[in-house]
C-alpha cells in the first residue's frame, strides 16, 4: 500500500513528462503522509516506461500491459484503474490534467464512490489530508479544497510540479495486472493527427501565439516565420481557433493546452482570463498589442503598443540577426 498512487501515461511506450512530474509531487506528499509512492501504468509495451517510473520515484509499479490498451479507451481504462486503486488502497490518487485524465478521473471517482478535484496547480498536506489549490472562474480566482472521502483523487496540471532527477539506481517492484480485453460500446474508429510540423506546444521553450486581433488567418504564416527563427512553437487563443484560423490542437488556454515556456510572445491577444489560465505560468510574457489597456499587459514583462503588422517584420529580422551571432 502506497500513500500516493500516480496514474501515469505512456504514449508510445515512453513515460510522459507529466507522469514524472506527478511522481515527483507524490514523493513529496508521501513523505509528509508517511507512506510510499506507487505508479499505475495502463497501455501497450510498458516495460521501459515501468523502469522509467521507478527511476522517477515509484516504489511499486502496477503495469496493465496489453496491445489492446495502446490507445486510450474509457471503458477499458476505468475498470483497470479502479482495480489497481482497490489493490493498492492508497490515500490519494494523482492523475494528469490531460485528455486522458479529464475523461478518466470523474468516472474513476464515481466508480470508487469518492470525489475528485480537477486541475490542481499546488498540492500541500494539512491534518493528514491533501490541500489542492486550483484555478476557477476561467483563471480569475483560485480555490483551496480538500476531499473528505477516500481515496482523494486529484488531477494535476502539467508543468505545475517538479519531477525528481531520474535515478536509474532506484529500486522498485513491478506488478503485472491481468488484462481481459473488452469490446467497448464506444469504439475509437479513427484518428486525425493535427501535429504541427514545428516544435510541440507543450514542451516548447518559446511559444509565439496569436489572437483574434490578428484579424486574418494569413497572419499566422508570419507568426510561423517568427517562430522558426526562435525555434518556438506556435499557439493560438481560443477566439482565433474558434474562427478557424488555427487548429484547436494548438489552442493555448483553460480548454486547450497549458504551456509554461521561458518566453511567451503574445501577438494581438487581449489576454482573457481563460487564455491567461493557459499561459500564466510562463517565465516571461511579452505582448504586442495596439491597446495599452489590454489585460495581457497586466501579466507582461515587456510590451510593444503597436499594430502588430508593423512590428512583426522588423522584429523577425532583428531576432534573426541577433540569433545568428
Amino acid at each position: 500500500m502506497a500513500s500516493v498512487l500516480v496514474i501515469g501515461e505512456a504514449p508510445d511506450g515512453q513515460l510522459s513528462a507529466t507522469s514524472a512530474e506527478l511522481l515527483g509531487a507524490a514523493t513529496r506528499l508521501a513523505e509528509e503522509l508517511g507512506g510510499g509512492v506507487a505508479c499505475a501504468l495502463i497501455g501497450g509495451a510498458l516495460s521501459s516506461a515501468a523502469q522509467a517510473a521507478v527511476a522517477a520515484g515509484a516504489e511499486t509499479v502496477y503495469a496493465a500491459d496489453h496491445e489492446s490498451l495502446a490507445q486510450y479507451h474509457t471503458e477499458a481504462y476505468v475498470p483497470l484503474a479502479a482495480a489497481i486503486v482497490q489493490q493498492d488502497t492508497p490515500q490519494a490518487v494523482l492523475i494528469g490534467q490531460t485528455s486522458i485524465g479529464r475523461d478518466l478521473a470523474p468516472r474513476l471517482a464515481a466508480r470508487l464512490d469518492t470525489a475528485v478535484v480537477m486541475d490542481a496547480v499546488d498540492l500541500a498536506v494539512a491534518d493528514g489530508r491533501i490541500r489542492a489549490t486550483r484555478p476557477c472562474f476561467g483563471g480569475n480566482a483560485r480555490q483551496v479544497v480538500t476531499i473528505t472521502s477516500d481515496p482523494q483523487i486529484i488531477t494535476v496540471r502539467a508543468k505545475s510540479q517538479d519531477a525528481l532527477d531520474p535515478d536509474a539506481s532506484r529500486r522498485g517492484s513491478i506488478t503485472a495486472i491481468a488484462v481481459d480485453p473488452v469490446a467497448p460500446s464506444a469504439a475509437v474508429t479513427g484518428k486525425e493527427q493535427v501535429q504541427s510540423e514545428g516544435v510541440p506546444l507543450n514542451t516548447a521553450e518559446i511559444v509565439v501565439a496569436g489572437g483574434r486581433g490578428l484579424g486574418q488567418e494569413s497572419a499566422f504564416r508570419d507568426l510561423e516565420e517568427l517562430a522558426s527563427v526562435l525555434g518556438a512553437a506556435v499557439g493560438a487563443s481560443r477566439a482565433a481557433c474558434d474562427l478557424g484560423w488555427y487548429p484547436p490542437a494548438q489552442q493555448v488556454g483553460l480548454t486547450g493546452t497549458v504551456v509554461s515556456p521561458t518566453l511567451y510572445l503574445a501577438v494581438a491577444i487581449s489576454g482573457a482570463s481563460q487564455h491567461m489560465a493557459g499561459c500564466g505560468g510562463s517565465k516571461s510574457i511579452v505582448a504586442i498589442n495596439k491597446d495599452p489597456g489590454a489585460n495581457i499587459y497586466n501579466f507582461c514583462r515587456f510590451g510593444v503598443v503597436e499594430d502588430y503588422q508593423k512590428v512583426l517584420p522588423p522584429l523577425t529580422a532583428a531576432l534573426r540577426e541577433l540569433l545568428q551571432d
Binding site: 470525489a115 480569475n140 479544497v145 480538500t146 473528505t148 460500446s185 490542437a249 493546452t257 481563460q274 489585460n295
Partner: protein
C-alpha cells in the same frame, strides 16, 4: 431520438476580468453591477448538439434539466427558447452548496425519473468552477458509455458518431446509445433564440422537483453530502509590472525589444 441536456446558470464568464471580485470571508463571488447570469456557454452548445441530432433523426423529445436556485430556471428557459420541448428544474434549499458528486447524484435520479433517453448531453465543464466532472460521473452512476470533449456529433441510425478533441488532434468515436456526450467550444456557436421563441418558452411549464420527488435522502446532497470542502477562495495577486518599449517607429521598437530580450537573457 430523445435527449436530455443538463445545463447550468452561471455568472457571465465573458465579463471583464477587472470586474471579477470575491468575498474571501464567505468564499463567494461578488456579482458586479450590470453583470448578468447566463446559461454556461458549453451547455448552450450541448443544447445545440441535441437539436441537431434530433433534426438528423427526424423526430424526438429534447428535455432540458438544471439543478440550481431560482435563477437556474432561466437556463432551462433558454434551452426551451432554443427549441427544446420540456424543462425540469431541481430546486430546493437541500440541493444548495453541493459539489460535483451531489450534483451528479441528483441529476442521475432526475434522469431516471424522466426516463433514460438515447443521448445525455452536457457541456464539457461549467464555465464558473471549471471542474468538468458531472457528465462523467452521471455516466458512471447510470452505467452508460461516455465520450467527452466533442467538436461534432452525428446521428447514425441509432448509433452516434463523434469527433473528440484530444491533445494532438481529433479522435473519431462511434458509440451505442444510450450514451453520455460532453460538448466542447470547438462545436461552434449555438443558435440564439428569437424574441418569438423566447416568448413561447416563457409560457411553457417547467417541472420542479425536490429531493423527496426524486427519492433522495437530503443528507446525501447539497452541502450535507458534499465531499469536496472549500478552505479558501481568493483572487491571485499579480505583481508583474510591464515595461513598455519606447521607440520613434515600430521598427525601432521591434529592434529595442529584441535587444531587451537578449539583455534579460530570455533568448
Amino acid at each position: 431520438m430523445d435527449a436530455i441536456v443538463c445545463v447550468k446558470q452561471i455568472l457571465d464568464p465573458e465579463m471583464p476580468a477587472s470586474a471579477f471580485k470575491v468575498d474571501e470571508a464567505s468564499m463567494t463571488i461578488v456579482t458586479p453591477p450590470g453583470v448578468q447570469q447566463v446559461i454556461s456557454p458549453f451547455d448552450a452548445q450541448a443544447v445545440e448538439a441535441a437539436l441537431q441530432l434530433r433534426d438528423a433523426a427526424g423526430a424526438g423529445t429534447i428535455s432540458v434539466l438544471s439543478l440550481g436556485p431560482d435563477s437556474a430556471r432561466d437556463a432551462v428557459k433558454h434551452g426551451l427558447a432554443m427549441g427544446a420541448d420540456e424543462g425540469y428544474h431541481l430546486n430546493d434549499p437541500a440541493f444548495e452548496d453541493g459539489d460535483s458528486w451531489t450534483t451528479a447524484l441528483a441529476l442521475s435520479k432526475a434522469i431516471e425519473k424522466i426516463g433514460l433517453p438515447d443521448v445525455l448531453l452536457f457541456g464539457r465543464q461549467a464555465a464558473d468552477w471549471d471542474y468538468g466532472v458531472v457528465g462523467g460521473m452521471v455516466a458512471e452512476l447510470l452505467d452508460l458509455p461516455s465520450v467527452t470533449v466533442l467538436r461534432s456529433v452525428e446521428w447514425r441510425d441509432g448509433k452516434i458518431g463523434v469527433s473528440r478533441v484530444v491533445s494532438d488532434g481529433f479522435e473519431s468515436v462511434s458509440t451505442t446509445t444510450p450514451c453520455v456526450l460532453t460538448i466542447s467550444n470547438e462545436f461552434g456557436d449555438p443558435r440564439y433564440p428569437q424574441l418569438r421563441q423566447i416568448m413561447q418558452a416563457a409560457k411553457k411549464d417547467v417541472t420542479v422537483w425536490t429531493p423527496a420527488d426524486l427519492g433522495i435522502d437530503p443528507s446525501a446532497i447539497g452541502a450535507a453530502g458534499a465531499r469536496v470542502k472549500m478552505e479558501r477562495l481568493f483572487v491571485p495577486k499579480n505583481e508583474t509590472q510591464v515595461e513598455f518599449i519606447d521607440g520613434d517607429s515600430p521598427a525601432e521598437k521591434a529592434q529595442a525589444l529584441a535587444r531587451k530580450l537578449r539583455e534579460a537573457k530570455i533568448i
